[in-house]
């Protein structure tokens, strides 16, 4: 265990991510970053700047080529796939641009999926899933399948799913990219509400400057480098 203060959720030390090939792509270059528990931050940057790579590395979906990534004080580079999967299930929630729900399952089953994976589903968990769905405004859609819901409703189901196992951090990759302005604002307000109520850390990747500027902290990436780390609070 590295000597990292308890309030630090994530610490990146000299993180590089290179995609090998005839023309190697340096997606992340020597990134150093610290993110505290309960932060609400956005990562912005033009297309191909490395922001999604950053999110995947932070979310343990992708491994850095070099450098150290600390999660809740633990260095993750030596973790095997099984340990990373367990950590993702317990501590991380993902929200993607396309909601990526499982189309064969109802909204309630989709929300319960992280708890199914942790093999801890019981009546209490089912009630919690229903409460979360009510909280995101889908109290009457428990048994609807994704095809029966609108884009905004599906994104709310995806948000509810990301909250199910009460993770430490939510990663949202362009969560409002496919939604209209009003729905986008509703989703943003929902994130804010959860962040304020539960103290859950939110890391949102977006190219929407308006949304980005509302965050407490904005990190801008260009060509794999952090060019701006700005705190609004």
């Amino acid at each position: 265990m590295a000597n990292i203060p308890e309030n630090i959720l994530l610490k990146l030390e000299n993180i590089n991510r290179t995609y090998a090939g005839a023309q190697p792509v340096y997606a992340l270059k020597n990134i150093n970053l610290t993110i505290c528990k309960g932060e609400f931050l956005t990562i912005v940057g033009p297309s191909g700047s490395g922001k999604s790579t950053m999110m995947n590395v932070l979310g343990l979906l992708d491994a850095p080529t070099s450098g150290h990534l600390y999660y809740l004080g633990q260095e993750t580079s030596k973790w095997n796939e099984k340990r990373k999967a367990e950590f993702r299930n317990r501590e991380i929630g993902f929200i993607f641009q396309a909601h990526l729900l499982l189309p064969e399952f109802t909204a309630l089953e989709n929300v319960l999926m992280p708890s199914f994976i942790s093999r801890k589903t019981n009546k209490e968990q089912k009630n919690r899933a229903k409460e979360i769905l009510i909280h995101v405004g889908l109290g009457d859609k428990f048994y609807s399948k994704p095809a029966q819901l609108s884009g905004g409703q599906n994104q709310r189901v995806a948000i509810a799913r990301s909250l199910m196992n009460n993770p430490s951090v939510i990663f949202a990759d362009e969560p409002t990219g496919a939604l209209d302005q009003k729905t986008s604002m509703d989703i943003y307000n929902l994130f804010r509400k959860i962040n304020a109520e539960v103290g859950m850390t939110f890391i949102i990747v977006t190219h929407e400057r308006d949304l980005a500027q509302k965050a407490d902290r904005v990190i801008e990436i260009v060509d794999g480098n952090i060019v701006r780390d700005e705190r609004h609070v």
């Binding site: 993607f96 499982l102 199914f116």
Partner: protein, 414 residues
């Protein structure tokens, strides 16, 4: 939920009906063929063996061949209608076992032997009116013969027990050809020309064409008179407990008595060899069926998994482990194979019933005059069960492994 993999797998089965139906049909056709082809053939083989074994002794003790000259008419079973009269024709027959009672005493305690019956057995003619037919005439002691062969169960009219010196029992086909029935009189003639007029007291049907058309039974005394054997016999029939040990027992008896000993397995060697060759072909056909079904299942699963890449990615992002992703698809395959097995089994039963109908309408087969009882081979039904499970596991394991190894980032981004 302890086994969420199965929960997802079953939902995939019901939600992706098209793929489920294709896989189920591929496996159930394989199951049906794996059960059907061996079942009808084994029914034929078993029936043939049962009938062959039941109507003759498992083991027969005889003496070496003796040759003699004769002016008697001769015939060949395959040209039974042609009766040739040849002068000084050299014929052969088994020598007499003069001390057959001593031989029976000598071998009666051999392990496996259940019953013994001495008899005389030679070719001759059965004549009724203008009809003359070649026949294998067997002179028996009915009380002993019925313990060695199933002839008593094969009697369809009349009787064989209490067979008197003036009685004869005919096979059904021979009786039809002679137009003879219970109470009619027929004349039999031995190879040396001795004749005897006998009354038909029984008619049997073994279902085996060779027996029903050529075999007749008379009392031992009558046989001895017709064949001019005095008080001797030329054969001792033996029934043993395990018919597949016939060769071993025959070998032991050969050593013990120094006489000629034939087992039913040696006498039916050609048929048994043919059956074994056919069983080999069945194994080969089954292999081809399994291979083709496995190929189609693999390709369907590869397509299925390609269409589910995003979902696999999202499951992995939520913490699903590689083995769980594999288990989802393997469970899906196994669930489908269980459904397919039940359908395939029913399909095999239908095919067997259909085939039995065709054979029944034909009325007879090459070797038998009765249609065998067609039933599902339990051995192959069990084999088909394991085939359906293992084929689907094997066929789905490579695509499932590919699914498990999918990089979640690449899968999500498509």
């Amino acid at each position: 939920m302890k086994f969420y993999e199965l929960f997802i797998a079953l939902r995939y089965v019901t939600s992706n009906l098209k793929q489920s139906v294709i896989i189920t049909v591929a496996i159930s056709i394989g199951v049906a063929l794996i059960i059907w082809i061996p079942s009808i053939n084994l029914s034929f083989f078993d029936d043939l063996i049962d009938k062959s074994v039941a109507s003759t002794p498992n083991i027969t003790i005889t003496k070496e061949l003796d040759t003699f000259k004769s002016n008697a008419p001769t015939f060949d079973l395959f040209f039974a209608d042609r009766r040739l009269l040849l002068k000084n024709q050299v014929q052969s027959r088994k020598r007499n076992i003069k001390s057959y009672k001593e031989v029976i005493d000598q071998v009666k305690n051999v392990e496996q032997i259940e019953a013994m019956a001495p008899f005389v057995n030679e070719q001759g003619f059965v004549i009724k009116g203008a009809e003359e037919r070649g026949a294998q005439i067997r002179g028996i002691i009915p009380e002993l013969e019925t313990k060695v062969t199933d002839i008593e169960n094969d009697i369809i009219r009349g009787r064989i027990k209490g067979l008197g010196v003036n009685d004869i029992v005919l096979g059904i086909t021979l009786a039809d050809k002679l137009n003879a029935d219970i109470g009619d009189r027929v004349t039999i003639t031995g190879p040396r020309g001795t004749s005897k007029n006998l009354k038909v007291v029984g008619i049997f049907s073994t279902g085996l064409r060779a027996n029903d058309e050529f075999q007749v039974y008379v009392a031992l005394k009558s046989g001895q008179q017709i064949f001019e054997l005095g008080n001797d016999v030329n054969s001792i029939g033996i029934k043993i407990k395990d018919i597949y040990k016939a060769n071993d027992v025959a070998q032991a008896l050969r050593k013990m008595t120094g006489l000629d000993v034939d087992s039913w397995m040696e006498e039916n060697k050609q048929i048994l060899d043919q059956i074994n060759r056919f069983k080999l072909i069945i194994v080969f056909i089954n292999f081809l069926i399994i291979f083709s079904a496995a190929s189609s299942i693999t390709s369907v699963f590869l397509m299925l998994i390609a269409s589910k890449a995003k979902e696999i990615g999202i499951l992995k992002s939520m913490g699903a482990k590689n083995h769980s992703v594999m288990a989802v698809f393997v469970s899906q395959a196994v669930s489908l194979s269980l459904i397919a097995y039940v359908i395939g089994l029913c399909f095999a039963k239908l095919l067997i019933a259909w085939y039995a109908g065709i054979i029944e309408s034909a009325g007879e087969t090459l070797f038998t005059s009765e249609v065998p009882e067609f039933k599902i081979s339990i051995q192959y039904a069990v084999l088909a069960f394991f085939y359906s499970i293992f084929t689907t596991i094997l066929a789905s394991i490579i695509p499932s492994y590919q699914a498990a190894k999918l990089n979640p980032v690449e899968a999500i981004n498509g």
